[in-house]
Symmetry: C2
Subunit: 469 residues, 2 copies
């Protein structure tokens, strides 16, 4: 069985003899009760080892590692605002987001971790096996070595199922990327206390709950390819799960079919090249002390209109981490966000309405983004944003996915976004504005293999797509 | 006939009833005689509108457009030198490298231009239909509008056959990219004096001559895909051209076959991701006035050991250009360069030995490069460079391509590199060092569609590959 079929079989399997889904929910609840978490906002001057740099105003760690908060000026001809300044997270290190998998009884299981990050709304979330920056694993913070690190440092000894560089939030991170990697191990492997084996189908099922599967797990699984074999013969006990004429079945076909896309790959690439040449993105550093429209107080850096986000400082105690007590910077959003894909059957296959979106921290000007991606506080201002009104007024019978999902709690304080997938019928026009294009799931999966095409919001939505009810 | 078959037919056609290849050679000779060119080296203070900026030492144009020469510090863990400083060309604009094509009698013809650039070794070279930076075509220099510009500005009115963002020399340009675009027009089109219709087969045939087809033409045609249809039925008169058991035939099969590559796409991508995570590239600006190991004189900026290249100033007069008289900066190399691909038949299909190479101006750390890429002056130092000794000692019967090709004469003064393709037999080991991998031409063509994978040296060599004797 090829790798892609192994992934597909795992995605179609929710039955887990080791841990059924309700046991996993109980296990997470129990972890939540047993782990002590204290996150307390503090003034900047109470931060340990973090301080403002004299000239640039950047806030940096005394080791020069981890990340820093810096000021940038943005000039662009994309969108309505041509120039602005803002703080941004600069973290040039490429971190690991790694999942170990292993086959049991012919099904691939994923080793996830019950992990608490200081910014999590609900403490424990299911995280990849390993989630570590180079500063973490080179032990700048003098903590214990992250568990399972050696598997990823010696990745070539195992089967590498996926290995991609993918972007983080382009509005908050300056060109940040992580290494999304999935390994398959053959030998016995020790399972530590906070780790659990789950199928891909279970992860997708757990994604129906709010804020349970963290962003890092979502981005890693979003990149999983399922192949092009539309006639894939499923084991008998899986076949019943595929209800024909269901949304799940249409998604499965869109993931596997490579012959009915209305836009060829070349056409999509040409479209994106033309847009990258049309839009400019110029980023230059500015001192945080002089940054336009932002105010530094003892306790935060905020926008003068209290919009967008704040930079805050926090003291953190988490009982099951390598380092149990530390202080750090966090980004606190001031508005909830909305991300939504519109999906429509065209030429017999479901297509996703994808937007080419510029964000200031993007690695390469534009990335492929959901149909709608905005912050709710700007609804009033942005009702002319294409498709926003449509999405907000979608009929209940059009809504296929509607959950709240968290951003990465290691950087973002209680940030959650509404994730929506809306399925539209034949009345919805195939004609779309210049910055939008229809792409099948199979095509999106190919873009995912090449780095820096889909933004993290698009990937989050894709990770939630389930092929079984 | 699909686009890819049209490209293939043109590549297999050298017979051109309008201009046979020897007429084209005569035509270029004639152009060379009729166009007046004067390029005179001058001191920096005689430059018109270019000057050193007070703080940064950067040399800029008074308009703020075109390009600038800036100082950078490079820190990397790739290669033997971990840190250095150097001048680099910063040209953030994406320029057009555009070719217009049109079908005559079932064959696609390419409209090339006899163009002189100040740095060209031999004056006239065959250039794309349009070769223009945004500063050119937004007429910063108050010249005439470039011919055929409107076709590319209204590209969507024509058939877009290719549209790619591709990198320039990573050792000389800071993250520079150009838009490589090929259009097909249906309507009649006016052909101006210095333009000529040629088939793709003729371009490849002209590439057997030194310094005749310029770098811009080479990069555009290197991206042309020929499809995956190994059973492509050629018109009868073309079939004779394909000699079985010839290098040309092996190249054609390597271009079209997608089923016999020894490394899957996923494996190649995983290999590259792992290397991008292993190697760091940190670039920071330094003042040209303080740049380590480089000396500024009245007439040049050169390395203290007279290695690498010099930045020089020149006064230029060219009689057939939009602006006929100007002064500008140029980069003059101090050593000739060598680029070479080793090619070997594996699993019945020719594979190219590709290197993942870091250059300081790379957009994304590493790009796929030829097996050997170095400057000849460093031979002595770099005889331990993998495969260099092998390539330099190749037997005549292994050498398939051996030409001198120019770098872009708009920036580089009389710079030419030796382009080599060496075909090795079964004794050559399939085992290669970690930074090297075997890739078929068909796979390289797919990488070319996605931006920033193949460096300009790899593309130059690929452009020279001919499918007919």
């Amino acid at each position: 069985m090829g790798i892609q079929n192994e992934f597909l079989t795992s995605a179609l399997t929710e039955l887990n003899p080791f841990n059924n889904t309700s046991q996993i929910l109980d296990w997470i609840k129990e972890k939540n009760q047993s782990i002590n978490v204290i996150v307390k906002k503090i003034p900047f001057n109470k931060l340990d080892k973090w301080s403002f740099e004299d000239n640039t105003g950047s806030i940096k760690h005394s080791s020069g590692k981890f990340f820093s908060i810096e000021g940038i000026r943005v000039i662009t001809n994309w969108g309505k605002v041509g120039e602005w300044e803002q703080p941004i997270i600069n973290q040039p290190e490429i971190g690991y987001l790694g999942i170990i998998t292993k086959e049991f009884n012919g099904v691939l299981y994923f080793l996830l971790q019950a992990k608490i990050e200081p910014g999590n709304v609900n403490n424990v979330q299911l995280s990849p096996t390993l989630q570590a920056t180079r500063s973490n694993y080179s032990q700048v913070h003098q903590g214990k070595k992250p568990l399972y690190l050696e598997y990823f440092q010696n990745a070539s000894k195992h089967t590498i199922l996926l290995d991609q560089l993918q972007s983080e939030q382009g509005a908050r991170f300056l060109k940040k990327r992580n290494r999304n990697i999935i390994l398959k191990v053959e030998d016995d492997i020790q399972i530590y206390d906070d780790y659990i084996w789950v199928t891909l189908g279970q992860i997708k099922s757990l994604l129906k709950y709010n804020n349970l599967v963290n962003m890092d797990t979502r981005t890693v699984i979003s990149g999983i390819p399922f192949g092009n074999d539309i006639s894939f013969i499923m084991p008998n006990d899986l076949q019943d799960k595929i209800l024909s004429n269901s949304f799940e079945n249409r998604m499965l076909i869109s993931a596997l079919d490579k012959n009915h896309a209305i836009n060829t790959f070349d056409r999509i690439l040409n479209w994106l090249t033309a847009l990258k040449c049309k839009y400019d993105l110029e980023i230059s550093p500015v001192s945080l002390f002089n940054i336009k429209d932002w105010v530094i107080t003892d306790c935060d850096i905020h926008h003068k209109d209290n919009q967008f986000f704040k930079v805050i400082a926090a003291e953190v105690e988490i009982s099951n981490r390598e380092v149990q007590h530390w202080s750090q910077l966090l980004i606190e959003p001031l508005q909830e966000g909305l991300i939504a894909f519109i999906v429509k059957k065209i030429n017999g296959v479901s297509h996703f309405l994808v937007q080419a979106k510029l964000e200031c921290g993007n690695f390469d000007i534009l990335e492929l983004a959901p149909t709608v991606q905005c912050i709710t506080g700007s609804y009033a201002k942005s009702m002319d944003l294409p498709f926003l009104t449509y999405v907000l007024n979608a009929r209940p019978d059009q809504i296929r996915i509607d959950t709240l999902q968290s951003e990465e709690g290691g950087r973002f304080y209680k940030e959650q976004n509404r994730n929506l997938i809306i399925e539209v019928d034949e009345n919805f026009s195939v004609e779309v504005p210049d910055n939008y294009i229809w792409i099948t799931l199979n095509q999106l999966n190919t873009f995912l293999k090449f780095n820096n095409y889909l933004n993290i919001q698009a990937r989050s939505l894709i990770s939630e797509i389930n092929f079984i009810k």
